[in-house]
């Protein structure tokens, strides 16, 4: 291994160059994260007038709480569905867009649009479409003989947040898949075609293996998205209900802190989420940076 070394003429220059990044990291990550760590071992009333050190009690209670375990399971199945559907749909669309020759820009632009919509706005949009009383989608389902009510039925509620979260993420995944497909040299697929491989065979044996770094990258990104960025969708549509059917971890953190004013427990939950995201990032660096073998 040989490493390239760059020598700066002034000693302070490299520090000055990375200073803004360091400052931003300190203010927006290290400081709040350390506050969360500190808060997670305390029990405090809302106003901060009485503070007790309780050690690991907040964590112990979380893992003894069926509702928290339940929220974990809900989050995992929700994330799996969002990542699976949004990547699957995006891949199909990317393959089709890749084959389009005329007006390709128009299709691509339209497919990318939903990504520009903020999660909360997407949530409100779907809330209107699926409102059991006034929603047009609910009305259509009723016409098909399905009594849609996501206020009462946990399955309906989960479907709603999965659809709303997936819809937006499809655009993002589409961009990456399309770029990945276009990076595959045409000569490879053309050669395979001359050898008599049909479109399906070509996709399975050539394009998919070559896409695997993109797929792996997107799995990590989508899981992080489903874990953390779907708060707006849940907040605008189901508020975690009915029952605890859609109470995903990140929503529970917010609710326990900002509605329940239980800062200790909420901080402990964010510490757990922080560990999770660090683990995901580590996986991403370890495998993606080394590239997937093919």
């Amino acid at each position: 291994m040989r490493t390239k070394t760059v020598t700066f003429r002034h000693k302070w220059l490299p520090y000055a160059l990375i200073a803004p990044q360091i400052v931003i990291t300190l203010i927006f990550f290290i400081w709040p994260a350390s506050q969360a760590l500190y808060q997670s071992v305390l029990r405090q009333d809302a106003f901060g007038l009485r503070t007790d050190f309780v050690g690991m009690a907040n964590f112990v209670r979380l893992f003894a709480d069926d509702n928290y375990i339940n929220s974990f399971v809900t989050t995992i199945s929700f994330s799996a569905m969002v990542a699976g559907f949004s990547m699957g749909i995006a891949l199909i669309m990317a393959i089709m867009a890749d084959r389009v020759i005329r007006r390709a820009m128009v299709y691509r632009t339209l497919l990318i649009w939903p990504y520009a919509v903020a999660p909360a706005v997407a949530g409100v949009l779907w809330w209107f479409l699926f409102n059991p009383t006034i929603g047009i989608a609910a009305y259509a389902l009723d016409g098909l003989g399905y009594d849609w009510n996501h206020y009462r039925d946990g399955g309906d509620a989960m479907t709603l947040i999965v659809v709303a979260s997936t819809w937006r993420q499809v655009s993002y995944n589409f961009l990456f898949f399309l770029a990945g497909l276009q990076a595959i040299p045409r000569s490879l697929t053309e050669a395979a075609a001359i050898d008599g491989a049909g479109p399906v065979k070509r996709f399975v044996t050539i394009q998919l293996p070559l896409l695997s770094p993109t797929v792996f990258f997107l799995i990590v990104v989508n899981v992080v998205y489903a874990f953390f960025e779907t708060f707006g969708v849940v907040h605008a549509t189901t508020s975690g209900g009915p029952g605890q059917a859609t109470n995903i971890l990140v929503y529970k953190v917010w609710r326990d802190a900002f509605e329940g004013l239980n800062l200790g427990s909420s901080a402990a939950q964010s510490v757990i989420l922080m560990v999770l995201v660090i683990a995901l990032t580590a996986i991403q660096f370890r495998y993606i940076e080394r590239k997937v073998e093919y």
Binding site: R43, G48, R50, R152, S239, P242, G243, E259
Partner: protein, 436 residues
């Protein structure tokens, strides 16, 4: 610490510049009323500012009740709190436990140089916000109570002449509606408040021990022990079978069920008056909540919801005189009567109620006095003057979740109420531990 001093110095300098220009003391009021209600709050503040020269009340909309309360608490922790913050009724226990952060309204008013008596407030409103020894903690501002909204056109079409007054009559009316081809008879919103807290108060039964939490933090929820409540909730859940009852979500989410004419009756806050008038294109009215005639011959009284104004510590003594004068203005019959008539909130003083009567408001819009009549039916008992439980915002979420289990058929009413009480009690113990 150094940084904080610099900040204080800067804000101090800014305040000086501000006060030099106006020569008036500013009173900050943070509230959680958006839209038309928020504009009305602005109007009240302007009225007060115009009525005297010493103080300027500056109202600021900070989001929902929950967001507003959280903002004020965060501001307090940073030493930047407003003078007055509006807090919804279920936040009462949290606020009152924060001794050192809040100043009792009783004290503020008595110290100030004005004539004030807390007997002027309606008993059902006052009792919710006073200590057991009669001190008023926060100033009642916008209070409402659940009533039963009904669709006159639908009831007429089904031949239901009298608006149901008991639960048996409710189900009888539902049968008639169904004979006439109309499925959904009733729905409700804010289910914990309407179907548990108010149901129990209406029938003079306890929600929790220790006088519903008024007498101490070691209170326990006992709503699961009411057999008639359990039976009624089960009966409602079973009536979904033929569509008599339809669940439409938490808080006010079920409003469209009523305003689109899908359900003939809807139980929720009297403060939906403005919203329903705007959206409903049928004849509607409000009536008292139905009585369960198996357990009581007559209703006790309903309890309020809504919000009050809390005074926070940490400002100059002189500024509290301004707070007191603003509160006095706010409670005057003219201001209160106007607020009541335009919003559907109940008038919080007896004088404002009488003034509205004199002005002929209730003849003009019949039924608008239902809420206040419900509240003042009887002198409130220990069971019906309200509730004061810690962590109650979360407890209500628990109740929502468990009741949703009943509506979806996953749990019986008995199982759900027992689970809600158990989970709720755990939250009450947390609160007790954090505040002892």
């Amino acid at each position: 610490m150094k940084r904080r001093h610099t900040l204080t110095a800067i804000t101090g300098a800014l305040t000086l510049i501000g006060s030099a220009a106006t020569a008036q003391t500013e009173i900050q009021l943070w509230h959680g009323l958006g839209g038309a209600l928020g504009e009305k709050v602005g109007e009240i503040a302007e009225g007060f500012n115009a009525s005297q020269d010493d103080y300027t009340v500056v109202p600021t909309y900070k989001g929902t009740y929950t967001e507003n309360m959280t903002a004020a608490i965060a501001a307090f922790r940073a030493g930047e709190q407003p003078h007055v913050v509006q807090v919804f009724e279920v936040g009462t226990a949290t606020m009152m436990a924060a001794e050192g952060a809040i100043r009792r309204v009783q004290g503020v008013m008595e110290q100030a140089d004005i004539d004030w008596n807390n007997d002027a407030y309606l008993p059902a409103v006052k009792s919710y916000y006073t200590t057991t020894d009669g001190d008023m903690l926060s100033l009642p501002f916008n209070s409402s109570t659940p009533v039963m909204w009904y669709n006159r056109d639908l009831l007429d079409a089904a031949g239901v002449e009298d608006v149901p007054q008991t639960w048996d009559e409710m189900f009888a009316a539902a049968d008639k509606l169904q004979e006439n081809g109309h499925d959904c008879a009733f729905s409700f919103g804010w289910q914990s408040w309407v179907m548990i807290e108010n149901y129990l108060a209406w029938h003079d039964q306890p929600i929790g021990t220790q006088q519903n939490g008024f007498a101490g933090l070691d209170t326990e929820l006992v709503f699961d022990e009411s057999e008639d409540l359990t039976t009624l909730l089960q009966r409602i859940a079973d009536s979904q079978e033929n569509g008599t009852f339809e669940y439409g979500g938490r808080r006010g989410d079920s409003l469209p069920l009523f305003t689109t004419g899908e359900c003939a009756m809807w139980m929720n806050s009297s403060a939906y008056y403005a919203g329903i008038s705007e959206q409903a294109d049928f004849e509607f009215g409000q009536a008292m909540l139905p009585l369960n005639s198996d357990v009581a011959d007559a209703p006790q009284n309903s309890i309020i919801g809504g919000a009050t104004l809390w005074v926070l510590e940490g400002h100059d003594e002189a500024e509290y005189q301004g707070v007191a004068e603003f509160f006095n203005y706010l409670s005057s019959p003219e201001v209160q009567a106007d607020w009541h008539q335009s919003t559907g909130y109940v008038p919080i003083t007896t004088a404002a109620y009488e003034l509205s009567q004199e002005q002929g408001f209730y003849e003009e819009s019949p039924g608008t006095d239902t809420a206040i009549k419900q509240l003042s039916l009887n002198e409130p008992t220990e069971n019906s003057r309200g509730l004061r439980f810690g962590n109650y915002v979360q407890v209500r979420d628990v109740i929502n979740e468990e009741l949703e289990g009943v509506w979806s058929g996953n749990k019986t009413a008995e199982e759900a109420l027992a689970a809600a009480a158990e989970r709720g009690n755990a939250l009450l113990r947390d609160f007790e531990a954090a505040n002892n």
